[in-house]
């Protein structure tokens, strides 16, 4: 007998595919994740709390989440603009620019880190220029943000792009014929429609940036309390064979990330439920 739990569908194989999905997710995500909790449970709650509230850990959390957020915000603005340009205009070399967007995904992050450090170091091309106006490039939170912006860009562009492609230019023409100027059209017509996708892209870029390691360690300088990111702190703990301490910090990150992602998803749902299909 069929239960009401499963809606009847003409597509066969629901039980099989659901079973596979759960198995696969367990194997790839849930089991490794649970190991994290099992390892941490060798600590008492007081010990756990001490590890994740240690000044050095808090500074690392602050730096990781702060720079990741800043980078995601930068990407929100410039990623949207790039997506807009790629959708709305045709120009020579457009396909190359389009391919270039994916570049940060394909490049080994360590290579990106070394390159960016070269550029932003006080002797580098960009760093030299920045120093002359009194900004330190590499080995500061600014440098970290630059690296995180670099790796997060494709996420925003690739999520916003298809939504912009779907946006009928006639919607904008309708707004113009009703007397709206360009800014009103962008603010009242385009932004609300792309907002859910933009939020998804920003969330992805943010999530990616929180866990980023390879490209950051070179440009960060890794001074405890100043430019030491949370993933690096975890590595440091591991190198000292403090496995429980390392997983405790990881769980702290995980919980904060989870809360932030859940909030972002809630807003995404809230803003997209009225968009309908047409």
């Amino acid at each position: 007998m069929q239960t009401d739990f499963v809606k009847k569908s003409i597509l066969p194989g629901f039980t099989l595919s659901l079973g596979f999905t759960i198995f696969y997710l367990s194997l790839i995500v849930l089991i490794p994740l649970s190991m994290l909790f099992i390892k941490t449970s060798t600590l008492t709650f007081v010990q756990f709390w001490e590890v994740i509230t240690a000044p050095r850990t808090l500074a690392a959390y602050g730096l990781s989440f702060g720079t990741a957020f800043a980078a995601a915000c930068v990407n929100a603005v410039f990623g949207s603009i790039i997506a807009w340009v790629l959708v709305r205009y045709t120009f020579p070399g457009k396909r190359i620019v389009d391919a270039l967007v994916d570049f940060p995904l394909a490049l080994p992050t360590a290579v990106a880190g070394i390159t960016l450090t070269e550029l932003y170091a006080p002797t580098g091309w960009v760093g030299h220029f920045l120093q002359s106006v009194g900004i330190k490039g590499a080995f500061t939170p600014f440098g970290i943000t630059v690296a995180l912006t670099f790796i997060g860009l494709p996420f925003v562009v690739r999520t916003v792009q298809p939504v912009l492609e779907d946006l009928d230019p006639q919607i904008e023409e309708a707004a113009a014929s009703l007397g709206a100027d360009r800014w009103q059209t962008v603010r009242l017509i385009i932004l609300p429609v792309i907002f859910p996708a933009l939020l998804t892209g920003v969330t992805l870029a943010f999530a990616r940036a929180i866990g980023e390691y390879g490209s950051v360690i070179f440009i960060a300088g890794n001074m405890p309390m100043k430019t030491e990111i949370a993933p690096l702190l975890i590595m440091t703990k591991l190198e000292q064979y403090d496995y429980a301490g390392a997983t405790a910090i990881a769980i702290g990150m995980l919980l904060i990330s989870f809360a932030l992602l859940a909030t972002a998803n809630y807003f995404q749902w809230l803003t997209s439920k009225n968009l309908g299909k047409t």
Partner: protein
């Protein structure tokens, strides 16, 4: 407000969308731009709206050149084929949009906006959808909302781009009668684009028939239907049969058969194309006086106001004929029955050359 376009040229790459088009739309007129796709009718409409730019020529609004006026300052209400409603806004917000984006010193109070929106919803008889979203409405309802939205800003001109093109036949008929009634009350200068000749003939005060970027004919529906300027207009405004023939005094010689053509006078024999509408034939059971074309009934459709029949002549040509139900009963027409065809009238004849 009157609209005049003078010598408009517009090219998309090598394609001539508009080729020296001039047209005057009188104040308060309901004008249809009719033509097949690619005839330039939508381009012309978009240029008048300011959504596209012409290469050369002039667009005049009440005698003033509108070239420097941006879309938002032209005071045109534009209705798109696919509605172009703002999908993240309720019906209310959609209609109120044009009022709310006005500069602060002109913007009406929220109360006035509400009153205006409700007034428009009443006009389109959709007061009950005020809080819905566009995607919750049917096509016909959406298009009426789009119309209300365009009317909210009190446009001086209403421009409609195939407004009923993506609706069901039934809804389309209702809406076009509604548009006609609305226009009779509001007298707002209206220009609408359509490829549906029936729609144009039924709704418009005057019809502009366009083809390949040029205007073929401008006139009242009656005028363009009964006195087509050329074969294209004739063809586009309804089904028509055409025959290659030789014309001599009062007669058309089609193959071996001589047919009498009422009202035709040619001074010398000519090779011609003869265009005959389906309702301009007379059918009889036997050969009448004068000569007639012999054919058999190949296909018959008596369902409708008129009975449609396809006849096949002895030379294998097909003729589409429409007769009244009364004639149909008198003739006792059935499939494969032989009939004799003569001409009551001819719509149009085009002379190819003088026969020797």
């Amino acid at each position: 407000m009157s609209i005049e376009v003078r010598n408009i040229h517009k090219k998309f790459g090598a394609f001539k969308a508009l080729d020296n088009v001039s047209l005057k739309v009188e104040h308060g007129e309901l004008l249809a731009l009719l033509g097949p796709s690619g005839s330039g009718k939508t381009s012309l409409l978009r240029i008048v709206a300011g959504l596209d730019f012409h290469d050369s020529g002039q667009v005049l609004f009440s005698g003033q050149d509108a070239r420097e006026q941006k879309v938002k300052d032209r005071g045109v209400g534009f209705v798109f084929q696919h509605y172009a409603l703002f999908r993240h806004m309720t019906v209310f917000d959609n209609i109120a949009f044009g009022l709310r984006v006005q500069p602060p010193h002109l913007r009406p109070s929220e109360q006035a906006v509400r009153a205006k929106v409700m007034e428009l919803l009443k006009l389109i008889q959709l007061e009950w959808v005020v809080d819905r979203f566009p995607w919750q409405l049917s096509g016909g309802q959406r298009q009426r909302i789009a119309l209300a939205r365009a009317l909210a800003v009190k446009p001086r001109v209403l421009l409609l781009d195939e407004p009923f093109g993506s609706l069901d036949a039934q809804v389309r008929k209702e809406l076009r009668m509604w548009l006609r009634r609305f226009h009779d009350e509001a007298h707002i200068t209206t220009l609408f684009v359509t490829h549906d000749q029936e729609e144009a003939l039924e709704v418009a005060d005057r019809i502009v028939v366009m083809n390949q970027g040029r205007i073929e004919q401008v006139g009242t529906p009656e005028d363009v239907y009964h006195n087509p300027a050329n074969a294209f207009v004739l063809n586009f405004l309804g089904n028509v049969n055409f025959f290659h023939c030789r014309l001599a005094e009062g007669k058309a010689i089609i193959g071996e058969t001589e047919l009498e053509v009422p009202g035709l006078s040619v001074d010398q024999p000519k090779i011609a194309k003869l265009y005959v509408r389906p309702n301009q034939f007379k059918l009889s059971r036997g050969p009448g006086k004068g000569s007639s074309l012999k054919a058999i009934v190949e296909y018959l459709n008596p369902a409708g106001t008129l009975v449609k029949a396809t006849l096949k002549t002895e030379t294998g040509e097909r003729i589409h004929v429409e007769i009244t139900q009364e004639e149909y009963r008198q003739l006792k027409l059935v499939k494969l029955m032989p009939v004799f065809v003569s001409l009551k009238d001819v719509s149009y004849s085009e002379y190819v050359q003088t026969a020797g």
